[in-house]
């Protein structure tokens, strides 16, 4: 179908730089998730690709063709908006039909096209309704149907699940990947929900203040976040971040946690002797019996059962609070004194001053977002 390439895009509004020299490539048929806090420039980026706003500098290529100066209607992209942007004076059918009408398709083709995509998205029964009479979920599906109906080679989805209820969001999170894969379209998907990002993305681009901070597979972003900020954004419960100063002894590099030396697996040479923050995923911690090597004594403060998992808040002897997550039904402790051990393979170290990850051999800090 079509790959998508952004080259050195700069977009300013008045004196504010919204996108700062951003380059990004999305392969043909790939789903790239743009993830980041509001104001990171995600939506602006989508609109640039769609052609409704123009970049101040840089080029936009779709399928290898320079589209930078082309108006929106000639780019052949489909887009679903966060606020749905349905045409309030048209029925759902007419809303969905607009991309086909623009191609001057015959009435029969339009009807077939609309009805098949409506069936796919389970809104066949509300096609005669105006947007006012649709529920939020139906509006969202109508907007999605409108984006899909013309089978555009490039699909831009701007946080389409933001304004729908939790149940529907969960359903759509399951449905969408298959839907997008079936279409074979190149997709840019914007979201602020890390679970959505992990579920839908072939790759995730984490954006902040107009630049891509990290680009990688969901696995990479989760395991090897480029900085403290990204580590904090992915994962629920959030990652434990503790101030440490790694040292070295005969057995390797270790950090002191509550007077216990915890040896770290993996390459952390660069961190020795520096002021660091260690990131420990709650699920990388486990309750162990006293006497286990590397066991850290803690006091259990509180326990929150979350159906499929149990999150326990514990306090170390130095008073630092740590979250431990374990699957329901596995042994643990719900009160009193306990011991925890660290799965040191998954530990990540960040520089305390800059927040950047240290000693990351396979994570490149991507200012311009070149492929890692």
């Amino acid at each position: 179908m079509a790959s998508l390439e952004l080259r050195n895009i700069v977009k300013r509004y008045k004196s504010q730089t919204v996108l700062d020299d951003l380059s990004l490539t999305v392969a043909d048929g790939e789903t790239l998730v743009l993830f980041g806090p509001s104001g990171a420039g995600k939506t602006v980026l989508l609109r640039l690709v769609a052609g409704v706003i123009d970049p101040d500098e840089g080029k936009i290529l779709i399928g290898g063709e320079d589209m930078t100066d082309l108006d929106a209607e000639f780019r052949g992209v489909g887009m679903a908006f966060q606020n749905f942007a349905l045409f309030p004076h048209m029925t759902a059918f007419d809303n969905i039909a607009t991309p086909l009408q623009a191609k001057h398709s015959s009435q029969g083709t339009i009807t077939t096209g609309v009805e098949s995509v409506a069936k796919l998205l389970k809104i066949g029964h509300v096609l005669s309704h105006k947007p006012r009479a649709l529920s939020n979920g139906q509006k969202q599906r109508t907007a999605l149907a409108r984006a899909l109906v013309g089978s555009p080679p490039v699909l831009l989805l701007d946080d389409p699940l933001r304004n729908v209820d939790a149940k529907l969001r969960f359903e759509m999170r399951l449905e969408l990947p298959r839907l997008l894969a079936d279409r074979g379209a190149t997709v840019i998907y914007v979201t602020q929900d890390y679970k959505e990002a992990m579920a839908l993305g072939d790759r995730i681009a984490v954006m902040s203040q107009g630049v891509v901070k990290q680009l990688g597979t969901p696995e990479q972003i989760y395991r090897e976040p480029a900085n403290v900020e990204i580590a904090r954004l992915f994962g629920d419960p959030t990652i434990n971040l503790l101030d440490v100063k790694p040292s070295r002894d005969a057995k390797g590099i270790y950090v002191g946690l509550s007077n216990v030396q915890v040896h770290l697996a993996g390459a952390h040479e660069a961190a020795v002797g520096r002021d660091c923050v260690i990131g420990l995923r709650p699920e990388a911690l486990a309750f162990v019996d006293e006497g286990t090597p590397g066991a850290i004594p803690v006091t259990v403060e509180a326990e929150t059962p979350l159906n499929e998992k149990i999150v326990t808040l514990v306090r170390t002897v130095r008073g630092r609070e740590i979250l431990v997550s374990r699957p329901s039904g596995t042994p643990g402790q719900s009160e009193g004194r306990a011991h925890i051990a660290v799965d040191s393979k998954s530990a990540v170290l960040f520089d305390r001053a800059s927040g950047e990850r240290i000693g990351s051999k396979n994570v490149v800090n991507l200012r311009s977002g070149e492929a890692a």
Binding site: V52, A72, E73, F87, K103, R132
Partner: protein, 285 residues
């Protein structure tokens, strides 16, 4: 509590009654006068009970005004037609020019766009009398004095800024995303204007058009100076009732009733749009 609320209700009732009497009295009085002869109107003290006559209306419609000094020809029906023609045409021209301009001002920020929009609005600030003298001289030079085209042109001073500024607000209220969505679907900007922007701003355009119509209809001074008898609207034509043999109050009242009827009917019909259109956004929900 009960006591104050009762008092409140009584006071509110009185206040409302006063307001209604204050606003409705002139209209009711004029309606009554239009069915009376000059003698009964000028009777002192004024009487609420009288024998109604249709003489005033017949005089207006036939164009023959009976006065003590004899029969006088008046062109009231012609004036009424002029009013209708001038107002409708002016509003149509203003809509044709103003709506696309309003869209441009709402959607495209170009160099000097605010200045141009404000200049157009400022036409409404200038006192008409100040503009009239130079305008009359120009119109005489250009041969536009006493022509329909000239009058319609001058009426744009009234209609165009009104339509431009009201409709611009409506276009600005339409979320840009809705128009973007239509563009991305593959439609040109003109199709987007026609199929999305125009229908969504429809109530606003109707409201603005109606207001402009009322303003144009009620205009007096432009037509007084720039047009002669056969091109004058009712507002100016009503002067003919001040005759050498006295002021014809009965006919004036009848003329007023006839001349406010079209605007009143239009306003009543479009009241829903006016109130909705002027208070609520066009594309909520």
């Amino acid at each position: 509590m009960e006591h104050t609320s009762l008092l409140e209700r009584i006071l509110r009732g009185i206040a409302l009654a006063l307001v209604v009497i204050f606003f409705m009295f002139p209209i009711v009085w004029i309606l009554m006068m239009s069915f009376q002869t000059n003698e009964t109107i000028l009777r002192i003290p004024p009487q609420l009970v009288f024998e109604p006559t249709l003489a005033n209306y017949t005089a207006l419609i036939t164009g023959k005004l009976m006065t003590a000094a004899g029969t006088l020809d008046i062109a009231f029906m012609r004036n009424l037609w002029n009013s209708v023609f001038l107002s409708v045409t002016s509003v149509a021209v203003a809509l044709l020019l103003g709506v696309p301009a309003a869209y441009a001002f709402a959607r495209h920020k170009f160099r000097g766009s605010e200045d141009i929009a404000f200049t157009l609005l400022s036409f409404r600030f200038a006192p008409a009398l100040l503009v009239l003298l130079p305008l009359t001289l120009y119109f005489q030079k250009l041969g536009l004095a006493n022509t329909y085209i000239g009058l319609i042109w001058v009426y744009q001073l009234i209609c165009l800024p009104l339509i431009l500024w009201i409709v611009r607000g409506y276009f600005e209220d339409i979320p840009a995303d809705i128009e973007y969505a239509y563009r991305i679907a593959g439609h040109s900007w003109f199709a987007t204007f026609r199929k999305i922007a125009l229908p969504l701003a429809g109530p606003g355009i109707a409201a603005a058009g109606l207001l402009a119509f009322i303003f144009a209809w009620n205009n007096f001074v432009f037509a007084l100076v720039l047009a002669s008898a056969d091109k004058q609207p009712v507002t100016v034509g009503a002067l003919a009732f001040i005759t050498s043999s006295g002021i014809q109050y009965g006919q004036i009242s009848a003329a007023i009733v006839l001349s406010i009827t079209p605007t009143l009917a239009l306003a009543l019909y479009a009241q829903r749009y006016l109130v909705e259109g002027l208070s609520l956004g066009a594309v909520k929900g």
